[in-house]
């Protein structure tokens, strides 16, 4: 059974994002970029399936700039067997990524596709769902537990009211939530081994996909700074302030 894992290179979660002075986007110059944490969970889950003897091959895929190769090397250091990069220097929006991944799914025909539920840079939470629709795969999003038996995936997912369990007939698609697993440390020997694993680089045109952005970014700005708090004397004063100053009740 082949497992496909999609990974994205994003601004590292430790780094405080900074908006460019002209408001055109987040300034990535000189900042550390690393694998989207939800994708790391996706890779870990796929590798665990392989270690359990359920998956036979784990393929990591990324779409983006040439440096995304580093992110794919990390995926292979966690345990993916090989990697594919669809290299594109232009902005890639979720629909374009979903189309690129769909083209790869058509070629590679994996039994299971695992993605992070969303990327921590744009927080779109769209690619997995779009890919499932385009590729005609059953989907289970926000997975917190995955079991694969006899061509079926049983997925526990986190929903507003609690936990929901779905059973999917494979090939299927899963997006990961935070509690699915705790990714392992990437070890130095495994990084060394990952350098020798195969990494294929394609262009969007090789897959016949038009990646022209459909959405235009009008403006990016930081959230307004929170003012200092005040202490109120009693409940009446609190209610008065909430009503007339904050205008929330």
């Amino acid at each position: 059974m082949k497992v496909f894992v999609a990974v994205k290179r994003v601004l590292d979660y430790n780094v405080k994002p900074r908006v460019k002075p002209d408001g055109s986007g987040v300034d990535l110059a000189g900042a550390k970029l690393s694998m989207n944490p939800f994708d790391e969970i996706a890779v870990e889950e796929a590798v665990r399936l392989k270690e359990k003897g359920i998956a036979t091959e784990v393929v990591a895929v990324s779409c983006g700039v040439a440096q995304s190769q580093e992110t794919l090397r990390t995926a292979m250091a966690i345990g993916a067997d090989r990697a594919i990069l669809v290299e594109c220097a232009e902005e890639l929006q979720p629909l374009a990524v979903a189309k690129l991944l769909r083209a790869l799914v058509d070629i590679e025909k994996p039994s299971l596709v695992i993605l992070g539920k969303q990327a921590i840079d744009d927080d779109c939470n769209q690619t997995g769902q779009m890919l499932a629709a385009l590729a005609g795969l059953p989907q289970a999003t926000f997975a917190s537990k995955v079991e694969v038996v006899d061509g079926k995936a049983t997925v526990m997912r986190e929903v507003d009211g609690g936990l929901e369990t779905l059973q999917l007939v494979m090939p299927a698609l899963i997006t990961t939530d935070l509690r699915l697993n705790e990714p392992r440390y990437v070890t130095l020997p495994n990084i060394m081994k990952a350098k020798k694993k195969p990494l294929q680089v394609l262009k969007p045109s090789d897959l016949g996909v038009d990646v022209t952005p459909r959405i235009r970014t009008v403006k990016v700005e930081e959230p307004p700074r929170r003012g200092a708090g005040v202490k109120v004397a009693d409940v009446a004063a609190l209610v008065e302030k909430l009503k007339n100053e904050a205008k929330v009740i």
Binding site: D12, V15, A29, G30, R184, V186, L188
Partner: protein, 560 residues
């Protein structure tokens, strides 16, 4: 669980053999790696070189002004411009200012020593330069492993250094391995080059073990605290380099401010404070915040926005405080040895040069089939280099300032301005430093308390909001990497006698004395640590020992 016990249970470590193992992916370590590969390519040899970097990527832990003298870089890569090195902003002018609390006097150009003039140099982000050096090294075939800290020295049977081991990952706060535990890895090298920066923790062990500092001057240090600002477009002046002396430092405390205008409407600025300061109430962090309120500095920053923060200890003992540069199995390069030129307020050129010299010595030795011995050719080559010549000229800089601000200023004027005009490059006299920084503190009771103004949140800041913009993080569940030889000393000695100076000299708020249930206790917030090593240097009882945390932890400086 002790390291030996962990090794017994989980070992042995996986091991890899290299020709040269380099600890630290800064300018010195990367220049050394690049030179080795260049020499190997030139002579058609296969030389394997590995660089370990504790930061999450090359440059993540680099903190420097920085005005860069391109001399050494040009020797390393004559075509650095074509290769896209991020030296984009030539220095356009120097202002050397003497500050009082309200006023600023600009030193006339004719009186500024040549060592302080930066014509031909560049205002850079040394972090960006380091990232670029990392890319160059990787493209030459150097194996760089960021996120892995060299935690332990490995010895051969003769007692020579034979490589390093990376730290174990996944040891909990309680010292016990947890579910994700991964044993470190051994990297064996014919030669091991230590390039950890000032006060490296493996370097300290090597210096002590092989007596490398015997007969040399006591090294002295400073702490540099820096911020990166995006300026109001009206205030930009790309390439202008400003240095200040005087206020807010008192007459007996060594220190000075810097403000360099970068390209792209940014400025990098900060304050350097000598760690030989005497008053335990002094807080370098707050002095730096206060320095920004000087009318001359405030006027530049108003309307701007702070976007980065960081701090790092700097060595400024000069050439006479350099330890012996080689030991059986390896060498010290860059700030690990202490090549910084304090009089010129720069050291990246010296770091690169020293890395290149060590590389040449190691390459020649390996050509002869040697390993694990002393690379005597490296200190010899250094003695004959322009770098030694340059450092000789400013050998007395810091020692003079140990005698106070006016003596330091006048004698620096004599040595750096007057004597060169008379044709004397190297002062005919030598001052020696015999006092370690940590011994200089006076008891708090005999020192004047300093009350610092409260931060305003737009020009001046507190420690925690500052650490926030350094993007510092450490895995929470790990033993504190700031270790105490004796846990009772902080309260018994440091707090009682010196009013807990660690809570003030630490620029990241790691050390906090709390009073609970009638008792004092030291809390160590190790996650905040920006790896500046100041505590390791200044702790009056030398009770604090800085060791490497899990690799990848620490600051993630961007554009610094």
């Amino acid at each position: 669980m002790q390291r030996t016990e962990i090794l017994e249970r989980y070992g042995p470590r996986e091991s890899m053999d290299y020709d040269v193992v380099i600890v630290g992916g800064g300018p010195a370590g990367l220049a050394c790696a690049i030179r080795l590969k260049q020499l190997a390519a030139h002579f058609g040899k296969e030389t394997s070189v590995v660089v370990l970097e504790k930061g999450s990527e090359p440059g993540a832990h680099i903190l420097s002004g920085a005005v860069m003298d391109p001399r050494a870089l040009t020797e390393l890569f004559p075509d650095w411009k074509e290769r896209g090195a991020p030296l984009n902003q030539p220095v356009t002018g120097d202002d050397v200012l003497i500050l009082s609390a309200r006023r600023a006097w600009r030193t006339p150009d004719a009186l500024v020593p040549a060592s302080m003039l930066n014509h031909g140099n560049y205002v850079v982000s040394l972090g960006a330069v380091t990232r670029w050096l990392g890319d160059q090294a990787a493209s030459l075939g150097v194996e760089i492993f960021p996120g892995f800290a060299a935690a332990e020295l490995l010895y051969d049977e003769q007692g020579a250094i034979a490589g390093v081991a990376t730290g174990d990952m996944g040891i909990g706060k309680d010292g016990q391995p947890h579910a994700g535990f991964q044993l470190g890895m051994a990297l064996q090298g014919r030669y091991t080059i230590l390039a950890e920066g000032a006060r490296g923790h493996l370097g300290r062990q090597v210096i002590a073990r092989y007596g490398l500092a015997d007969g040399r001057d006591i090294p002295s240090y400073a702490i540099g605290i820096k911020e990166l600002w995006e300026l109001d477009p009206k205030q930009t002046d790309p390439g202008r380099v400003i240095h200040t002396a005087g206020w807010p430092m008192d007459r007996e405390t060594f220190g000075g401010g810097f403000l360099y205008h970068l390209e792209g409407g940014r400025a990098t600025l900060g304050l350097v404070v000598g760690l030989d300061y005497r008053n335990p109430w002094l807080s370098p962090f707050e002095e730096m915040q206060r320095w920004k309120t000087h009318p001359r500095i405030r006027s530049i920053l108003e309307g701007g926005k702070r976007i980065g923060y960081g701090a790092r200890a700097i060595n400024n003992g000069g050439i006479n405080a350099l330890p012996r540069l080689v030991f059986p199995g390896g060498a010290l390069v860059g700030c690990e040895a202490g090549f910084m030129n304090a009089a010129r307020i720069k050291g990246s050129h010296a770091a690169i040069k020293s890395g290149m010299l060590a590389a040449a010595a190691a390459f020649d030795a390996m050509e002869l089939g040697r390993q694990h011995d002393e690379l005597a050719a490296y200190p010899r080559a250094f003695e004959g280099s322009w770098l030694a010549d340059e450092l000789q000229r400013s050998k007395n800089f810091k020692p003079w300032f140990k005698k106070g601000f006016w003596t330091g200023t006048v004698m620096t004027g004599v040595e750096q301005w007057l004597l060169p005009k008379l044709g004397v490059a190297v002062p005919p006299w030598t001052l020696h430093n015999k006092v370690a920084d940590h011994t200089r503190l006076q008891p708090a009771a005999r020192s004047a308390r300093i009350d610092y103004p409260k931060p305003d949140g737009s020009l001046t800041f507190d420690r925690l909001s500052s650490v926030f913009v350094s993007n510092t993080n450490h895995e929470e569940n790990q033993p504190a990497h700031l270790t105490l030889k004796d846990p009772s000393v902080p309260v018994r000695a440091n707090l009682a006698r010196y009013a807990g100076p660690e809570s003030r000299y630490c620029p990241a708020g790691v050390y906090e004395f709390v009073h609970e249930d009638g008792r004092d206790r030291l809390v160590i917030n190790a996650q905040n640590c920006v790896h500046c090593k100041t505590c390791d240097i200044k702790d009056p009882t030398q009770n604090i020992v800085w060791v490497t945390p899990e690799g990848g932890g620490g600051p993630n400086y961007a554009g610094m």
